[in-house]
Structure formats: structure tokens, C-alpha cells
Amino acid sequence: MSKLLMLGDEAIAQGAIDAGLSGVYAYPGTPSTEIMEFIQGSKQAAELNIHRQWSANEKTAMESAIGMSYAGKRAMVCFKHVGLNVAADAFMNAAVTGVNGGLIVVSADDPSMHSSQNEQDSRFYAKFAMIPILEPANQQEAYDMAYSGFELSEKLNVPVMLRITTRLAHSRADVLRKEIKKQNDIKLPSDPRQFVLLPAIARKNYKNLLLNQPAMEMESEKSAFNSYIQGTNTDMGIIATGIAYNYLMENYPDRNCPYPIVKVNQYPLPKKQIAELYNTCKSIMVLEEGYPIVEEMIKGFLNVGKPIHGRLDGTLPRDGELNPNIVAKGLGMTVTEGQAVPSIVKQRPPSLCQGCGHRDVYEDLNEALKEYGTGRVFADIGCYTLGALPPFNAINSCVDMGASITMAKGAADAGLVPAVAVIGDSTFTHSGMTGLLDAVNENAPITVIISDNSTTGMTGGQDSSAHGRIVEICKGLGVHPDHIRVMTPLKKNHEENVRIMKEELAYQGVSVLIPQRECIQTFARRKKSEKKESND
């Protein structure tokens, strides 16, 4: 099979396709977006008729994937770590229903918060749900794990989590492909009640999940993804999980680490190998990207016995992603350093694109709000979050997807009137609609601005689920049609838009303002491809 140069994300996508994937469900989120994008762009996936459309949010994606598994086919669901919070209800219960067709849940963590609100570690969720985790150290393992993960899932009758972190997701290396497997045929679950989580059945299923734990451990102990690497110096033993192994080996140019290592790429932790390391070595160092989950497990409550080093005792920083120098320092090795950054070098923060419609929305809003003063704008997650930075300084909150509308409602309930919510079109359908219904039910005096750029802009311009239907959705949720105001955010409309905003800010009920102008990035791409098509 051919060798390909692939991002970690792309390797997962290709591995799943080659393993007989029938459908992938996802909501875009850095660093997971490229998995779905790759499958959408794949000719092979098109020929195999693999389902590959974006879902409205991570929960609907997770549930659709469970449905495909129910039907006996192999399904994958992909999102970033905070997306797993949205999908958590379905995710936790999928461990209890079990699977029929293999089910892989890809959760891409973002230590150092390159593009995120927190650093949470998805391995905790998999441990919480009591299912296996596959955590690749490199692009080849990412491919191999997606390829063999479905089989593991079907064998153990549980979803399998494939956990990656930003660095691997967005790093390219060569990948060797395996032979292509056929998709499963449709096959209903042999136990017709397997997926019915009525308490009586759930109790039975849950007991089975518990009984299944030793089998999961056994799979880890004999997994080719986990290995015990002998070393000559037993003063210390190292547990290196996922990509942390690479950073460790980088410090040994000949790749000969003197300390014994357990390389962990599959969980539950391989007890046998860990016990051997613990019994052989005088102390243990745990290298892991994310939370100190393995370190906590090894350390135990009373911290008796041998010293355990890692993120908890300060040997490694408690936050942020790892790198070769951090690991070297932790091991007590001397590290190289380059020159200092000259003091003239300035920060270059991300900003809204020149010509972006959100800019006009904020200029209009800042003026409309002048008479009320600052501090009453609740915003959401997307490009428009950059309105928090100069020159706009226009928003006061960004907590999670959908929180703008509900936070504005809560603030209005507290008496902060008017309260304003700013949300994008994609985020609105992701998690804003239910909050708007709450506001309508109580006729909360809030002004909701759905800044509609007809795409999911922050992650690069994916399709937005309610494109062209935002007004109808707001009507359907019960917003009074007189208070649904569509506008075009352009300089020339500034005065008119400010006037409309002021009118609705004064209204003592739910109003929805919908400034509509396509994202300039997708607009430019569309024009370019239209031009190309007309030339062809």
C-alpha cells in the first residue's frame, strides 16, 4: 500500500475509511475539524457512499453514530474535548447500551488552549464511562488505531475512545496504509432490548459493563499498542502516554533511554506492565499530556510507597502541553536554549478579518448601547468572540456554546435590562435555540443578535445547519414577528442599523436582530471556485 504524508487528523480519517466505516458524524472544533473535512474531500469515501455531513451539534452527532452502530454498521463521531461535554449524556449511556456495529468516539484535546476555553482531559470521560481509550503517539498509530478500533469496539461491546491532542492532530508525517475492509451489512442487535435503557434493563447492562472491565484490562495488557521497554538504570521507571513518548525519546538522540519505560497507548492502564515497572524501579516518572490522570491513579490517596513524579508534584508543569525541553528538565537533563526574544517584538493577537460583517455589527451595537453604558453584552463562541478585543471591546462574556442567550436571560431575570446576547448562526443552531425558547416562554426583556455569516467561520467555513432558515426558526420558537429584524451589516447602513437596535433595546420582551452578510472568507472562496467552474 502507498505511503502518504498526513496530519494526525487525516490519518484517523483514512484509517476509519479503510476499516469499513459507514458514517462519520461531527461538529467542527479545533483541533478535530480536519477529520470530517478529509472524509468529505475523499473520493474513496464518496465512492463508498460513507455518510459525512456535519451535525447540528456534538450531541446529535453522538446519537446519530449510536443509531448507525445499532443498525450494525461501523460509525465514528468526532469533536474537540469541550464538544464531548455537549455529547456527554449520550456518550455515557452508549457505554451502557453497548454497541452493535463498531463505534469510535474521537475526542481531540487542546492542552495549552491554542483555540479553547479549557484544557479538560477526555481520558477522564472515558474512565468515567468505563470504556477503553486508544491514544496514539504518532500519525501511523493514529491510522492503525482508527483501523483496528472498530474491531476492538465490536469485540468488547463498548464504544472506544480515540483520544488525541492538538500537536498530533495538526502535525504531518508519513503513514503506511493497510488493506481496505468492506463495510458491515445491516444487522439488528441480537438482543432486541440492548439499546433500551429502561431502569431494569440499564441495571443489567451496567452490571455487564462492570463485568466487562477485566476483559478491557486484558486487551490492554496484550495490546501491541502498549509496550514494556527494558532499561539499565532502575533508579527511575517512566510511564509515557501518547505523544509524551516522543518528547521523551527526543532527548535521547540514539533512542536509548537508560530507564525502563512503559509506553501506554491503550487504556485501561495495562496493570501487568505497570506493576512490573513499579516493582523494578525505585521511583516512577509519569509523562502524560493533559491532566495528571495516570499519576493520580498510580499515586493513590495516601501516597505511600515509592516516589511518583509528574505534574502533581511539580516535576512537570501542571498546565500546558509538553515538549522535549519540559520533559528534559523534568528528567534533570540540561537543556539547550536559543537567544532571548528581543523586547521590540510585539504580540500579534488574532483579530476579525478586515471587511468582516461582525465588525459592523459591533460598531452598530456599541453606538446603540451608548446610552445604557457598558457591561451588558453576553456573547458566545465563534469568530465574533474576538469582539472582546480592541478596538471593539464590545462583549462581556464567552462561556460555552449557546451561553449568550441564556446568560442574557439570567441577567435580565436579575434586573439587568436591557441585556444583549450576541451569537452566530452556527452556534445558534448548535445550542442557542433551546435557550431562546426559555426566553420566549417568559417573555424575557432581552435583545438577541444572531450575527449570521452563513457559515461556521472560526473553524474555516463549514456548512451551518440552519442556513437560510434562521428567521423561520425564531418564528417557530415563538418570537413575535414584529421583533425579528433582519438587517445588513454594512457601513452605509450604520445609522439605520443603530436605529433598529435602539428600538429593540427599548422593547420589554424578546427581540431577535439578524444581521446577515456572508463570511468574507467563504465569499472569496465561492467566487474563486465559481470563476474556475465558468472557465472550465
Partner: protein, 193 residues
């Protein structure tokens, strides 16, 4: 051999095409490669860097250790300085001299260039002017690749081949323009090393 390269610039300046061209050349030369990119929020006008590692032996880390980069290729002069902690003692900086000013507190361009000149091994090149001469200002990043190619352990012919592969779909004119830009960059480095 190993070439550890930091590619630096601002979101949207085309540093990933430089990475792709070097990547193709490396793969065609049967070398190992790892290339870590920055995606997402940072791309919106923020600083962007890519770690590109090429070696004749398997590569462990996707990230280059601090103080170990052999080369910084920057399509913008202030961004070249941002990654000085990554550069090894004998490493080279190859940077475009044309500033990309999208912040209000950008330092005086002369001061930035003075700092670049203070680095022992450096090539400062007005890549835009050279690209324009070659036929299109947009080929600036390929001029930069040409200028940097002098410091890569990949035969120049293989890099030319990578360019042909990368732009092949866009027609012969585009290929030739980029090859011209590549060679002009290379020539500049040879003269100014």
C-alpha cells in the same frame, strides 16, 4: 543529516505552501519528515509557526526542542525574531524584509531589521520585489523557499521537482513562474551568504 526548521509568518501569508513544497521534496528524497502546524484561532491575523523536521533517521518529536532549530524561515521580519529562542547557536535566519503591519504597536521596521542583522547567520531578502520581478508578488513565499533552499540538505533539483508537483495542476505558466521565483531566491542567498 537533519534539518530542523521553524517556518514563521502571519495567518494567511502562505507558510504552509512552503512547508508543503519542502515536504514533497523530502518525501521524494526518501527522507523522514514531521511537520507540526498551527490551525484555528491563531490563523485570524495572529502569528503562525510551523515546525518542520527532516531527517535520514526516524524522528521522535513533532516539536523541535528550544535552541536546536537549524533554520528559521520567516515571511515577515518581526516574526523571525519571535522564534530566536528556538534557533541553535550556528543556525540561520532567512527572512523577508517586508513587514506585515496589522497591529497598532508594530515596532519601527528599521529597528526590526537591525535586530535581524544582529543575528550571526542571516539572510534578509526583499522577497516581494524579487517575486514581482519574477512575475507575481504572490510568489513571495516561493522566493523565500528558494532563498532558504541553500541551507537544506536536499538537492536543489528535488526542490524544483516539488514545485512542479505542487503547482502542476495549475498549468505550465504557473509552474514556470514559481520556478523562476525559486531560482531568484536561491541566487540571492548564494550571493549574500
Amino acid at each position: 543529516m537533519k534539518n530542523d526548521i521553524i517556518l514563521a509568518g502571519v495567518g494567511g501569508q502562505g507558510i504552509l505552501s512552503i512547508a508543503a513544497a519542502i515536504g514533497l521534496a523530502a518525501v521524494n528524497n526518501n527522507l523522514y519528515i514531521k511537520q507540526a502546524e498551527v490551525h484555528g484561532m491563531s490563523q485570524r491575523g495572529g502569528d503562525v509557526q510551523s515546525h518542520l523536521r527532516i531527517s535520514d533517521a526516524p524522528i521522535a518529536s513533532d516539536l523541535i526542542p528550544a535552541g536546536k532549530a537549524d533554520l528559521i524561515i520567516s515571511v515577515e521580519p518581526m516574526e523571525a525574531l519571535r522564534y530566536l529562542p528556538m534557533l541553535s547557536k550556528d543556525g540561520w535566519i532567512v527572512t523577508n524584509t517586508v513587514p506585515f503591519i496589522n497591529i497598532t504597536d508594530y515596532p519601527q521596521p528599521e529597528e526590526v531589521l537591525a535586530q535581524v542583522n544582529a543575528v550571526k547567520n542571516h539572510i534578509a531578502i526583499d522577497a516581494e520585489a524579487i517575486a514581482k520581478e519574477a512575475g507575481s508578488a504572490r510568489a513571495m513565499n516561493i522566493v523565500m523557499l528558494g532563498a532558504a533552499s541553500l541551507f537544506l540538505d536536499i538537492p536543489f533539483g528535488k526542490i524544483e521537482e516539488g514545485i512542479r508537483q505542487l503547482f502542476g495542476k495549475k498549468g505550465n505558466d504557473v509552474v514556470e513562474l514559481n520556478l523562476k521565483a525559486l531560482r531568484a531566491g536561491r541566487e540571492f542567498s548564494e550571493k549574500n551568504r
